[in-house]
């Protein structure tokens, strides 16, 4: 039986891998709309029901009656009654591109990283035991099977079960949790897998419930009768404990890192929350429906010392229903694993964004741009953190030895995470809340929680000595962990929660009132509190002194070259400019900061941009916007601002158009004068030397032939110039006939490379031929002409001692993108604007007339593609975009 169980479990895990892979593939192709459905969202929320609740609800019902319901009532109340606040959190999360709960709180309080670090540490301390609990539930349930089967475990005992489960989970999470850097993007694979697990665990409980009610009891009325007679029916109601547990579970539902991850970070659409607000309570109802019948069955069947937490397994096992027991096992396994996966993702995002990255930033000099690839560092940090978090959970299990101490950790963990609530809720409803208050409140609450609940939970003399437990810290009676300020006789949980939350809240409010927020906090505060009113964010950057190019370099290192270039190009387009380098307007810096925040968190992103732009500042206008009294002015001024922005954009376009017009008329003059120059220069040599040859009799033979050679060379130069001019004029006037045919890109590049072989240069070429195997419908000769030109240019202008040209081909949705990347020093900033103009040579040491790139640009636009210079790549990079087919 054990072998079957192991095989079934492994097959289940393999199926989850496959589902996650399949979902990722679908999402990558933009398919699978159901991946983004509200149903999947609701199911993913069910990671609230972990292994602890899966097994523990029955256990709790067997021990203490209906108390388990409070755990489910909390979230239900939040979803039904506090729906607006969840919607607000989700809206803020999306508007600010929040990556985790630590990011949310730090972002609200002026992007302060110290707050982020405190929240991260609290989250790790609070959640690690919970991970241990999940590992324990898997190993305990496995153990139960061992006992029932009576088989000797040959290769697995319960300890190594926990170990292998931990290893498997870490691998799964690393594979599917760190595929993309943008923590704000959805992890479709993970979300789909946990949605499937949600269905499995529900199906398992319901199947077992149906079996118990209809098969064991023989029907609903019989079941009700049995409940009437059972001990559970004796109503033990401890109001304070009920209220506390309901409050705790409500708080945990909002503030647990894993809940925040699925509810806010992975949220695709705000309206999904609406579906979840009625669908999730139904899910919870179904989960809790059969808890009592299962519990009574267990109580009747087994001696009083049997562990009621395992009734879910022992009931079907004792009936010989091994298949059903296995299904229940897989249900519990699902509940445990999905929790660990999401918790590890959430914690690793926090650790990498708020601990590793700031440290790395502090050590990486002042210039982010010169340091290595930031993406790799962040991804590595995230993977390492996942491993670390799961390992920590495993060791916690090993060291604590499992058992009862661990079983009570669920609520203790909830209480720890609940300490985040005042800072978080205060931050979104109260403008005057500031970081001093938040920090003080968090630390107060956390310390009291640790002292009165977390540390004593290890038992006397484990961490806190029994003398402290009985007589208080330093022998002071009012500092007894279970009776703070001399108030004794309360339930430990209620006692700790009462003091930690009320003092947390008190300190938070008082310190916030006594201190002043800095301008950035005021702005962020207004944006959080009024998230539904503010559609346009207040900018925190003054007109940048930043070089757009530096920003592009940095941005490429974080979100990737393609994405960064696309972002910059779009912004440039929005500003009415062509190319990749927009003006560093405050709005653009704001956008950029938010984009980066999606990858590395608000605090780090802000710090990184500040490194390049210099200090951020908040203008009087921005402060006006946050002033309460100025609500109407705000409305009016934001309209004005929108208009001003529109005018600015129009003005910018007009200026550019005007410049273009002036430039065109100047260009006409300049063109004639340049043509004149290009024609007269070779003619001068021809005329001078032909006169010398004609008038000098005593010319030596070698001199004579040298001069004749010069004349010959100059006539060739003239001819080429005229050819180019004619070519350009034909292209510009649209008289050119293109002969489209279906051809292979690799073959075109081959043809071009062969044609440039005569160029006397030691330029080395690097190509990736397999990637060039793409069929396009284009004019082969014209495209080849462009490629020849680019290769020749690289041969002429690449100033590296061993010049190298890399041709890389990439297929995108817009067509085929061919990059020509050399290892020289690139085109200088001022030349980038003019290289595609006629007669604009970047340097004067060439022999060409400067028409090559102008011709290339004409050809590419005729072919329906484009050619651009991509700045900030080190060497020169020309990007040719070829459409796949003729439009």
């Amino acid at each position: 039986m054990i072998n079957t169980l192991v095989v079934v479990s492994l097959a289940y895990v393999a199926a989850l891998f496959l589902i996650a892979f399949y979902a990722e593939r679908l999402a990558a192709r933009g398919k699978g709309a159901w991946l983004r459905s509200p149903l999947v969202y609701t199911l993913s929320l069910s990671i609230y029901c972990t292994g602890w609740t899966f097994y523990g609800a029955v256990g709790s019902a067997a021990r203490g009656g209906l108390e388990y319901l409070a755990i489910y009532l909390g979230p239900t109340l939040v979803l039904v009654g506090w729906w607006w606040i969840l919607r607000k959190i989700v809206r803020i999360g999306r508007a600010q591109r929040i990556t985790s709960i630590a990011d949310m709180i730090s972002s609200r309080y002026g992007k302060s990283n110290s707050i982020a670090v405190v929240v991260t540490i609290m989250a790790v301390v609070g959640v690690t035991p919970y991970i241990a609990l999940q590992l324990q539930s898997v190993s305990l349930s496995f153990n139960t099977f061992l006992q029932f089967s009576g088989e000797e475990p040959r290769y697995l005992d319960s300890q190594s079960t926990a170990f292998w489960v931990a290893v498997g989970l870490a691998i799964f999470t690393i594979i599917f949790g760190t595929r993309n850097l943008d923590a704000n993007e959805r992890h479709h694979g993970v979300v789909t897998a946990i949605a499937v697990e949600a269905v499995v665990k529900l199906a398992a409980l319901v199947t077992l419930g149906i079996y118990v009610v209809w098969v064991l009891f023989g029907g609903v009325s019989e079941t009700m009768a049995a409940i009437d007679q059972s001990a559970i029916n004796v109503w033990q109601f401890d109001g304070a404990r009920w209220t506390s547990i309901m409050f705790l579970s409500a708080a945990a539902f909002i503030a647990l890192p894993r809940m925040f991850q699925v509810m806010v970070v992975e949220n695709e659409d705000e309206s999904h929350l609406f579906t979840a607000s009625w669908a999730f309570p139904i899910y919870v109802l179904l989960v809790s429906l059969f808890v009592v019948p299962i519990a009574i069955t267990g109580l009747e069947k087994f001696p009083s010392d049997a562990n009621p937490d395992l009734f879910v397994l022992t009931v079907p096992l004792s009936e010989g229903r091994n298949g059903l027991a296995m299904f229940a096992f897989i249900g519990g396994f699902s509940a445990a694993t999905s929790m660990v996966i999401v918790a590890a993702i959430a914690l690793s995002t926090m650790l990498s964004n708020h601990v590793v990255m700031p440290i790395w930033l502090a050590f990486s000099d002042n210039r982010v741009s010169v340091a290595g690839d930031v993406r790799q560092i962040v991804l590595f940090a995230r993977r390492l953190s996942i491993g670390g978090v799961v390992t920590l959970g495993y060791f916690y299990l090993k060291i604590s030895g499992g058992g009862a101490a661990l079983a009570s950790i669920g609520l203790i963990s909830f209480a720890g995470v609940a300490q985040l609530l005042p800072a978080m809720m205060g931050g979104i409803v109260w403008r005057a809340a500031n970081r001093f208050g938040a920090l003080a409140g968090l630390l107060t609450g956390f310390t009291i929680w640790a002292y009165t609940l977390f540390l004593p939970s290890f038992g006397p003399d484990a961490i806190l000595s029994s003398s402290i437990l009985n007589e208080g810290l330093f022998g002071l009676q009012w500092l007894r962990p279970y009776a703070l300020f001399g108030i004794s006789g309360m339930d430990n949980l209620v006692h700790s929660l009462f003091w930690s939350i009320s003092l947390n809240l008190l300190v938070f409010v008082v310190v916030s009132l006594l201190t002043f927020p800095n301008p950035l906090e005021r702005l962020q505060g207004a944006q959080f509190v009024n998230v539904f009113d503010h559609t346009v964010g207040a900018s925190t950057w003054t007109k940048g002194r930043a070089e757009t190019e530096d920003l592009l370099i940095m941005c490429q290192r974080i979100i990737g070259p393609q994405e960064a270039q696309e972002l910059f190009k779009q912004e440039a387009g929005r500003q009415g400019k062509i190319g990749y380098l927009p003006d560093t307007t405050p709005e653009f810096l704001q956008t950029l900061e938010r984009e980066l925040a999606g990858s590395v968190g608000a605090a780090t992103s802000h710090a990184m941009i500040a490194q390049i732009v210099g200090r951020s500042s908040v203008s009087v206008d921005d402060l006006m916007r946050v002033a309460d009294e100025a609500a109407q002015i705000m409305e009016y001024s934001s309209q004005l601002e929108a208009k001003t922005e529109e005018q600015a954009r129009t003005a910018r376009q007009l200026t550019e158009a005007n410049l273009k017009l002036t430039a065109i008329s100047e260009q006409k003059d300049a063109f004639l004068s340049k043509v004149s120059h290009e024609l007269r220069t070779p003619m001068t040599s021809i005329r001078a030397f032909s006169e010398i040859l004609g008038e000098t009799e005593d010319l030596a033979d070698d001199q004579r032939s040298k001069y004749a050679g010069i004349i010959h060379g100059e006539t060739i130069r003239l001819t080429r110039l005229l050819d180019d001019l004619l070519d350009l004029s034909v292209l510009e006037n649209g008289e050119v006939k293109l002969s489209y045919s279906r051809c292979n890109l690799g073959a075109i590049i081959d043809q071009a490379v062969a044609a440039t072989n005569f160029v006397d240069s030691h330029l080395a070429l690097r190509r990736d031929k397999p990637s060039e195997d793409i069929w396009v419908v284009t004019d082969q000769d014209r495209l080849s002409q462009v490629i020849i030109n680019l290769i020749t240019n690289a041969a002429k202008y690449c100033d590296n001692r061993s010049p190298l040209l890399k041709i890389s081909v990439r297929r995108s949705d817009k067509g085929v993108q061919i990059d020509f990347v050399d290892n020289g020093s690139g085109v200088s900033r001022e030349n980038q604007d003019v290289i595609f103009e006629k007669f604009s040579r970047a340097t004067d040491r060439s022999s060409g007339a400067g028409l090559g790139l102008a011709i290339c640009r004409e050809i590419m636009s005729k072919l329906g593609g484009s050619i651009n210079y991509v700045p900030a790549q080190g060497g020169a990079v020309f990007r040719v975009l070829v459409p796949l087919s003729q439009n």
Partner: protein, 122 residues
């Protein structure tokens, strides 16, 4: 010992041609191809005549000439300007900044010789 000419021009073939024509007539000819450093070269060599092209890398011929005319001890040197653009605007500008003579490319060899001789003789 003939008089000296400094030719500031960046087209190697034209340098070759003018050098040949003038040295055959007994001139000592030196050449320089960069506008930015042209003034230093002129003050270093102190030639009797300067032939100055308009389109130079670094600095245009007009700019070089303007600087030259403002430089004590060099301002008197006669300058023959060459241009390949051949517009009246260029000629006016050349006169304004103080060119002694102005010639449009292509020129005849004898024309160059006459102009250069006239500038030192006259």
């Amino acid at each position: 010992m003939g008089k000296s000419v400094l030719l500031i021009e960046d087209e190697p073939n034209i340098i070759e041609a003018i050098s040949y024509i003038l040295s055959k007539d007994g001139w000592r000819v030196a050449s320089h191809s960069n506008g930015a450093t042209a003034l230093d070269e002129i003050s270093r060599r102190a030639p009797d005549v300067v032939i100055l092209d308009v389109m130079l890398p670094g600095k245009t011929g007009f700019e070089v000439l303007r600087d030259l005319r403002n430089e004590d001890g060099l301002a008197h040197i006669p300058v023959l300007m060459l241009t390949a653009r051949g517009q009246t605007k260029d000629r006016e500008l050349a006169e304004k900044v103080g060119a002694t003579h102005f010639m449009t490319k292509p020129f005849s060899n004898s024309e160059v010789l006459d102009k250069v001789r006239a500038m030192v003789g006259g």
